[in-house]
Point group: C2
Chain length 169, copies 2
Amino acid sequence: MTISLYAASVPVFKQMLEGLDAILVKAEEYAAARNIEPGVLLQSRLFPDMLQMLRQVQIACDFARGVSARLAGLEVPKFDDSEQSFADLRELIKKTLAFIDGIKPSQIDGQENREIVLRPGTPKEKKLTGQSYLLSYGLPQFFFHITTAYGILRHNGLEVGKRDYMGQY
Amino acid sequence: MTISLYAASVPVFKQMLEGLDAILVKAEEYAAARNIEPGVLLQSRLFPDMLQMLRQVQIACDFARGVSARLAGLEVPKFDDSEQSFADLRELIKKTLAFIDGIKPSQIDGQENREIVLRPGTPKEKKLTGQSYLLSYGLPQFFFHITTAYGILRHNGLEVGKRDYMGQY
């Protein structure tokens, strides 16, 4: 037996994005309860040349959509990155979940050897199979941004724990 | 076609741990160059009730060994968590890589439906298949600690980037 490419992608993105959504609810409540301007949390970074929390969430969503779409051979949906509030980020997660939920297992399974080209036409162009693209590139990138969004909020005092990060499994 | 449980576990752990090892080399050099006591970086946290960098590395290694061993039906090797320096952590990563490199694909492939019990005998006991254990539990946990170790070092001014985190792929 083996596992399916779908099982290693869409349901993983879903679990973690739903966890992140619940963390954002707590973060917004925390900001209100402690009189913290929401923008302070949204714009917080772990270091000046790292991306802020809001961008970490946007990029996590980008990877969830982009990786799922590429594996399925679909056009990667264009989003405008116009989010500015917790409500906007939650709406973004909702739209991201709706997009990936619309992909059927049969559209991803069997695409293990599909050629996927990273940064096409640039000196850093890299060709990967669908399997390597997911396991060696997509998942590490996705988890990076989910965890960094969490880390920024923890660094700012939000009382959440690993259980919140893990989502429902 | 499908992907193998081995491909989604050992090589992923290996890629990320090798990346982390290279980051630790840079962190140790950075501490020396800037006259930072290495223990300051090793004991740094993103928030007082989060674990320090050294523990993040230990736990990432724990998950790499534990998840690989459980999937293969091997006894989870006991390590004593006695690391105190960058050299100790690099040695720990080396031993962890040696352990997981010793596991053959044939020992993990086919174990997708093996029952794995989390927190056995406790009220939080949870039974998962090998596949769910890896995708819904093991990988999210592993990436959490790799990314948080990276985030702590970035927060302390270490000049590394996503490329270092990603390792070789």
